[in-house]
Symmetry: C2
Subunit: 440 residues, 2 copies
């Protein structure tokens, strides 16, 4: 992980948020190369979900919604972590971490913590553990009182459910159909950790698929398949780095009847990357109850009315970003020297081409290289000019950020309009004509 | 405006957030067609700013930053609206609106409000006006106290300034260079209004250009030019719908030495669409002071050190989205009937092609149409299948959402592999071969 964190900072993928002010735990900014990779991942997902499915529609909901939404979703009551306060020094700790358990049962935690000392002051002065809501709170409007409290959404799914009826109607959609969303969510984690793996401000890509309950099993299996295919084929993750993890009954979220995650081999172990969850009619049922709006679906063929079930396909962008980088991170030896390179799929790479003149003090080479650079930049956008240091150093720099193609303009270019193009993974160079470059 | 609001809701561009819970003032969700238009606008801006400029780099910063950032930026002290409370009923009002003035001077407002009654209870019981901070507040971590307060960013610019040094270093950038960002910002407006024009949760596209102070005037003019060109050529806004507005000294934000906005003819009058601001060394100077980090730039050629100046190019996504829709909104008469159509530039349109079989009960037409639909969808993504109602109704439906091309598969298609393609603006139809469709 240290290698990745250091590479991310050194090469402009990820910075600590507000770094010049000492940062803020659990918050990160994506730098110039990071935002390109992030955008490429988002676009690939949007393409796979929305543009390749006739019956999946996008939305972009507000981060702040009417708080009744979170009452209906169960987040106000249930989105909690167990905490314990120290009577002596006032420090607050995660009760389950301190007790060394995965359980969040308050009675069990109380027992396990009986003899524990406070890690901050060392005194045996821990109070009774209690539930602590992880939603971030704010106020809307000029008065800060209970009636104006609002929450930053803890997951994007909420505004998908509240828009179910609007989308169905405006798109004249029939079951099954899905709604997809990419956007930020906030969780007041007590102990954010593992770089961008567990953060307080995260971005999610979620799709909720609305179905006739009779199609529950079939649809669930189909979206499990999609998850595996997306991660391996579209994100280029090697199969040996991922595995299925089925949630046990005690592990599932309050809304899920079944849940299969894809776990990725992060440096801290196999951890959740992408989830497929069967949310049944939990969400629409609760929204119907709390809002008083009829959210039943009328099926013409059978003349039946029912609350649709929901199969959810969900992933955190930070996690897939991190997994893509870790999966691509390679070291080898080239001419006796250690080389770091990112074996990123070309469609995800932050920079597609780097263009260099062989020598930066030969104006005719520089002019020609600028011409090729402009041509490629016009076509691909994410193209970098690099004339710093010798060619070997430039290659190393581009390898480290995963640029698949390095183009060099040399004296032969001036003669026959061909350039060398070097492959990042094999380091092999071949000559191609300039025309070929933009017609690949 | 009512026509636009109604179209947005009816056709799935924009919905009230949490509509089933009665909404939440100042918050909106983008629906299936809205999110496509929004994404197209963002991509066009990113292309124009980042991918077409060698020296402009993207970032994606966190919405929540270390609060010291907002101390340095002046937002904790200065990002305020004047409010006045009623002693009798406890209602709170915008003092300047109530006084019918643009001034935010508290003494002046006090004078103007002397004889006014509270609009809520009718009593003359208004207290002294006072400043009210518009940043939304939350807490980070388990304890809700002063030391854990954080703010939702009121503008995206903040994390551009704090990343200035990181970007300069990792990109080995030399002045002039820019940093661009698209992201959400939050403003606790007392009276959100005019649909998505003035909201509490907004999205911004901002670029800060760091320059040698000696290039101030030239760079400022250049980015004014960019603004005009972007709005007219890339967003397709007609020149008669926009005008320059130069900020007077009393109107400028606390950080700006000069400011030129492009105003768009919104239904409520000419209002701000996009700003070009000269922020001088206000931001980096303050961040250097508050953070204690050296943010000076060392210029090799002159061996001089200085704080770069900043020219900012900034726009709200909701506003340009609204302007693009209003600008495109047309009504005409076709065969004696009123027609609504959106004259959107093709690269911005939410749907590029609609595909229909002439008759939906002829399997051979439907099969062929499905084939064409799949082909186009694979290539363009944003392609809609439409077999509902007669052809005339389908055309009207597509016109209303701005689909530039309607393709119809008829009996002649089965004979010679040609289809009719209809132009949204002229309503003219011509026959083209299917091959031509995907090679346009």
């Amino acid at each position: 992980m240290e290698d990745i964190v250091s590479l991310c900072k050194r090469r402009g993928f990820v910075f600590q948020a507000s770094e010049i002010y000492g940062g803020l735990a659990g918050f990160y900014d994506y730098g110039p190369l990071g935002v390109e990779l992030l955008n490429n991942i988002k676009q690939e997902w949007w393409q796979a979900m929305v543009h390749e499915h006739e019956n999946i529609f996008g939305v972009d909901g507000a981060i702040i919604q009417n708080p009744k939404l979170w009452e209906a979703s169960g987040h106000i009551a249930g989105f909690t972590d167990p905490l314990v306060d120290c009577k002596n020094c006032g420090a607050r700790h995660r009760a389950d971490h301190l007790a060394g358990t995965d359980s969040t049962d308050l009675l069990e935690l109380k027992k396990l913590l009986t003899d524990k000392a406070c890690p901050s002051c060392g005194k045996k002065a821990l109070m009774e553990p209690r539930k602590y809501n992880m939603m971030m709170k704010t106020w809307i409007g000029p008065v800060e009182d209970d009636s104006s409290i609002a929450y930053l959404r803890p997951e994007t799914a909420g505004s998908i459910f509240t828009n179910y009826e609007n989308v169905r109607e405006t798109m004249r959609a029939k079951l099954p159909f899905g709604i997809a969303q990419i956007g930020k969510a906030f969780r007041n984690e007590i102990s954010p950790r593992d770089f961008i793996f567990r953060v307080r401000e995260l971005e999610q890509m979620e799709m909720q698929y609305f179905i006739n309950p009779k199609d529950e099993k079939e649809s669930y299996e189909r979206w499990r398949e999609f998850a595996w295919t997306f991660v391996t084929e579209r994100m280029g993750i090697n199969e040996e780095n991922i595995q299925w993890h089925e949630h046990g009954p005690e592990e599932r979220a309050h809304y899920a009847a079944a849940a299969h995650d894809i776990y990725f081999k992060f440096p801290q172990g196999f951890k959740e990357l992408m989830g497929t969850h069967d949310r049944t009619d939990f969400d629409l049922g609760n929204h119907q109850r709390v809002s008083g709006k009829d959210l039943q679906y009328y099926e013409e063929e059978t003349k039946q009315k029912f609350i649709p079930y929901v199969i959810e396909s969900s992933m955190g962008l930070g996690r897939i970003f991190l997994a893509v980088l870790i999966n691509a991170y390679c070291e080898d030896e080239q001419k006796g020297e250690k080389r770091i390179f990112l074996k990123l799929p070309e469609h995800l790479a932050s920079v597609k081409y780097a263009v260099s003149p062989l020598l930066k003090n030969k104006p005719e080479l520089v002019d020609k290289a600028r011409e090729v650079y402009k041509m490629l930049k016009e076509k691909y956008g994410a193209v970098m000019w690099d004339d710093n240091g010798n060619i070997g150093k430039r290659y190393r720099r581009q390898d480290e950020i995963g640029t698949p193609n390095c183009v060099v303009i040399d004296f032969e270019t001036l003669e026959n309009n061909t350039v060398t193009i070097r492959d990042r993974d094999t380091t092999e160079q071949k000559r191609v004509s300039i025309d070929e470059l933009t017609n690949r």
